[in-house]
């Protein structure tokens, strides 16, 4: 027939059906495809130029792994929030705020560390909820509301720290955290035994001098990584396998349509603001527990880094589309590039240039992929 020959579609969906996609291709075309390609490219690149620098030895892997894990923790929160159609510029300030709260309460005011941590989580969840409430209630773009909180929280953090301790950096948390029932959850290292065993096998190097001579160079997996992996798995399952995940997509895709079929959009969005705040606080707590100190300037510009990871991972800035795995890969790319440039000995100020270029390339690729999937124009 003439129609089939010319491939002129009577209705678009029929036409789509003509071009049956192969199983392979269908499996490949997913939001995180861009990030997967990016990850492969980045690894190939650094394997090529920095493989003899120790970047891919156990110690090097833990090195960029930790940095990536940090990004991943905030990226998971930002990703789910972005898919729910909002975003949060106050993540960085929240990190500073939570850290100072913990240090202040435990070191300065003498509360037990577990209590300080709980209070920090409670406070930040409240602030997250307030962010969400304001966005929902006023109908203002989340850009503005959370920008206001970026300033408010940072200001409060510095003010509180100075007003109570005359310092903006509060140390000594490690001492008070000794033996605390939950502090190790954030600052500890696990699987030390495995590394000792690997060192015995010669797969991991050992210290040759100093007080640690004979111990493996890698002490263990930092809890930060465990948190990152846990949050990624949690976020991924929540998003793709649960009812709530469907609501997240729906709220971001079209809040009104979702509301009309009974999705509690306000609740979904507010919870996602709270989850983002939760992730920021996990980040802050891990940092405080690992380094034993909190400073008012922690977390500067982290909101952008989270958003960049998420966007590299294929999520749509306007909501309704994206994947946690993608965001995690985005964080991995971010971390590997940042650390890799050091291993490769590139002038470190060029890192920002690389980052900008990668961001641009990634979103262009992602846009192309998304159009293929959704038939968007």
């Amino acid at each position: 027939m003439a129609e089939t020959q010319t491939a002129a579609p009577p209705e678009p969906e029929k036409d789509e059906r003509v071009r049956e996609m192969s199983r392979m291709r269908k499996a490949l075309i997913r939001p995180e495809l861009g990030a997967i390609c990016g990850t492969i490219l980045v690894f190939m690149f650094f394997l090529g130029i920095a493989s003899d620098s120790g970047m891919f030895a156990a110690e090097g892997i833990i090195n960029w792994g930790t940095v990536s894990a940090q990004f991943a923790i905030i990226a998971v929160g930002a990703c789910l929030l972005m898919i729910a159609g909002e975003f949060d510029l106050s993540v960085g300030s929240m990190i500073g705020f939570s850290g100072i709260i913990i240090a202040l309460m435990s070191v300065q005011w003498g509360f037990p560390v577990w209590f300080a941590i709980l209070v920090a989580f409670a406070l930040s969840l409240c602030i997250g909820a307030l962010n969400g409430y304001l966005v929902i209630k006023t109908g203002l773009p989340s850009f503005i509301v959370t920008l206001a909180f970026l300033y408010i929280l940072r200001g409060l953090t510095i003010f509180i720290a100075i007003a109570t301790t005359r310092k903006t950096i509060i140390g000594g948390v490690k001492d008070v955290a000794e033996g605390d029932p939950i502090a190790w959850l954030f600052g500890g290292k696990v699987f030390s035994g495995v590394f000792v065993w690997l060192a015995d096998l010669g797969l991991v190097g050992t210290f040759v001098a100093g007080p640690k001579a004979g111990l493996p160079v890698v002490e263990g997996i930092p809890m930060l990584m465990i948190w990152a992996i846990a949050l990624i798995i949690f976020g991924h399952i929540l998003l793709t396998r649960t009812r709530f995940g469907n609501w997240i997509f729906a709220s971001g895709g079209d809040a009104q349509a979702a509301r009309y079929v009974g999705v509690p959009v306000s609740r979904v969005k507010i919870s996602m603001f709270m989850f983002t705040a939760f992730c920021a606080t996990v980040f802050a707590t891990c940092q405080v527990m690992e380094f034993g100190s909190a400073a008012a300037d922690r977390g500067l510009l982290k909101e952008f880094e989270a958003i960049i990871s998420v966007v590299i991972g294929g999520a749509l800035l306007t909501g309704g589309y994206g994947s946690v795995i993608g965001a995690a890969l985005g964080a991995l790319i971010f971390g590997v590039v940042q650390q890799g440039l050091f291993f490769a000995g590139v002038e470190s100020s060029l890192f920002r240039v690389f980052l900008g270029v990668i961001l641009l390339l990634a979103v262009i690729l992602n846009t192309y992929i998304r159009r293929m999937i959704t038939g968007e124009r």
Partner: protein, 263 residues
Amino acid sequence: MPDANTAPLIELVDIEKHFGPVIALNGVSVSVKAGECHCLLGDNGAGKSTFIKTMSGVHKPTRGKILIDGKEMAFSTPRDAMEAGIATVYQDLAMIPLMSVTRNFWMGREPRKSVGPFKFFDFAEANEVTMAEMAKMGIHLRSPDQAVGTLSGGERQTVAISRAVYFGAKVLILDEPTSALGVRQTSNVLATIDKVRKKGIGVVFITHNVRHAMAVGDRFTVLNRGKTLGTAERGDIKAEELQELMAGGQELAQLEGSLGGTV
């Protein structure tokens, strides 16, 4: 007018709705019976959308009663109305284009299976049901993962309608489902309405097109300036009369003359 042979599924009595200074509805009463298609007609801004949004729990009425199976109910969210068996399909807002057909179909009422203490979205079942229901309506999907954005307007309406029907709606509300559709798509939607009606579901159908209303309607209610102008049974009223009623009867005579026939 009140035909009492079957009790109405839902009855809205003297509904008023104010938005600040604007009085969008000023005493509207409509009832829907099982298996009937009740057409709601009226000018732009007459209050049709506001009325059905009140019915489906989006707006709370300022005054008036909503009776379901004779019992008074108050909906505070669309969910409440859905649980009471009222499903609504909005013209533009029926579907989320970036999401898959399955996800759209189940949106808000996802089936779940338990794995240990956790409950997960049961995709196996959801996909199967979706494909089956779509097939019943005559739509053959490439795959249940297909994004709704790749469907045509008529197909989207049909997905929305079949979703509502599947979830056991007793009353199905359709707000201008045909306004952007071609003749064939329109026929499909009207045929779907017909099918749904035959299952014993009450349908509320909003349209500006008298022909479409006449094609499937059992009763016709015309709204004007937030008030009911009256309800007529099929056969009691002719298309021309209905048309005149909708336009408020004024100024149209001369237009009609120059243009010829009903529009």
